[in-house]
Amino acid sequence: MPIIDALLNGLTLGGMYALVAMGLTLQYGVARIMNLSYGQFMIAAAFATFWLFTSFSISPLLGLLIVTPLAFGISWLIYRVLLTPLVKRAKDDNALEVDSILATFGLLFVIEGVVLVMFGGNYFNYAYIDRVFMIFGTPMAADRLIALGFAVLIGAGLYAFLYHTRSGTAVRAVAVSPVSSRLVGINVETAAALTFALGGGLVAASGVLVSMFLTFNASMGVIFTLKALIVIIMGGVGNLPGCLLAGLILGMTESMVATFVSPGLTLAATFALFLLILIFRPNGLFGRA
């Protein structure tokens, strides 16, 4: 049945968008960096996984354990080396926002260029587990389900960290007010750097998981950044449950449009959704008007 097909597809797609957006909501909500090169990190991770799998036959799930910590480290370095000077010279939040938009826009072209030089502009995919399950009479690829399972695990882990540990509470405090956080003895610079790195680790993890079932190419990063941005605005910046719900809404919308209207119009549907949010709930689904 096409409707069940579309629903299941929307569910996995939505879960994926929620996972992708979680890292960005941390980077933007806590570290106050509007990272336009976000999607390129994800695509780079997908290519790294592809390379590990095809050249060294390291399974993507093992790749997850290699790529994620690596991305965490690289993101930490990027924050420390590239973004800290911008944070220091910014007079206010607005200036930092403009500066970080510009700097990461440059980074976007650098990362995309590196991936293009290494892998070329073709579409890539690989077959990890070639099994298909039947759910409600609809075929469903096993690796898609595994990816979704891991996405749920990672999301739950992040939630537990943010809401049930001391450091997580500090991170949330910085998100609410960097100035007051300093007053209660939180080292805002360290917290921001670690949160930015955590966001980088998350986006790499989602890149690894997405590479298991999606055909990807070097120039797809922009679309993922855009969708992640729309999801975090819909869900409210820094709001994880909101992120999940918004991701699911976006995934469902796209899946429905692709099934019943035309696959070529999914981005138009995304923008339509974004427009509705901007017009009716500019502070997010749960935000106060």
């Binding site: 926002e97 510009l102 070529g264 981005l267 500019p282």
Partner: protein, 323 residues
Amino acid sequence: MRVGANVIWVALGVAGLAACVAVPFYGSGYAMSMAINLLMFATLATAWAMFSGPSGYVSLATVAFFGIGAYTVAVLGEALPWPVVLACAALFCALSALLVGLATLRLRGVYFVIFTFGLAELMRQVIIWYEANIGGSVGRYVFLDITQSQIVWQLTALVAGVFLTGWLISRSRLGRALRMIGDDETVAQHCGVNTTLVKLVVFAISAAFIGLVGAIVAPRWTYIDPNIAFNPVLSFQVLIMALLGGANRLHGPILGVIPMVLLFEYLSANFPNHFSILLGLTFMAIVYLVPKGIVGLTAKLGAARRPKPMPSTAPATGEEAAR
């Protein structure tokens, strides 16, 4: 002192325009294509900075308007007289800018950035979808009786137009209001400035100029498809040039255009595969090293050469004092 500097700038500008008009008579084919590139980017960067410079709202949608202009020519070029086609291109771009602006410019700057960030990709995909499902082909041919020389002259006129418009705006209430928004939007609102309207009007004017550039250079291609017309690298190039020159002054962007067009020429000829990496690195260097552009740099040097004012009246240190 200021008047003298302005006279020099105007004289330089007129000399530059005269040189551009003369290129088709004396220049080689290569000089023509360089002239077209320079004029095209000069108009684009100045038009971009007209809105984004004073307001501080970074628009990443340059290529979206450029592509709309080019597509207007591809669709209407043979059906209507050329001036009408150009008018349509400007009109379509201004209308799209109004739509985008109505949705986003009432709100915080980020929404605007995000929307414009995706706009070119949206246009690209929607046109591909339309051409594949309804139009029946991916690309379109542009067979028009417009020579390279005519393109050069039209662009020269356009660059003069964009400077004149920019100058008029910067001296009008509109321009002052826009600069005030860039400094502090809340204050501007409290002073009775209709901030949304001001942003909308200037954004639409800037978009119309960008669309005109796309329309004027479209006949050069003879064949266009959405991937050519909406290539995101163009938005990026324009942004680099405007920021290198300095987006806060009318003559700023053009100072960035000249070195950057030469650099792009050199890079794309010698490092075609690493173009985007080098472009990104150049851009980051500019953001870090010359955040206020060449204009800001020369102003700083000029201030250093002049005798220092007394500390009590030194506005230059206000920035440090504010911390």
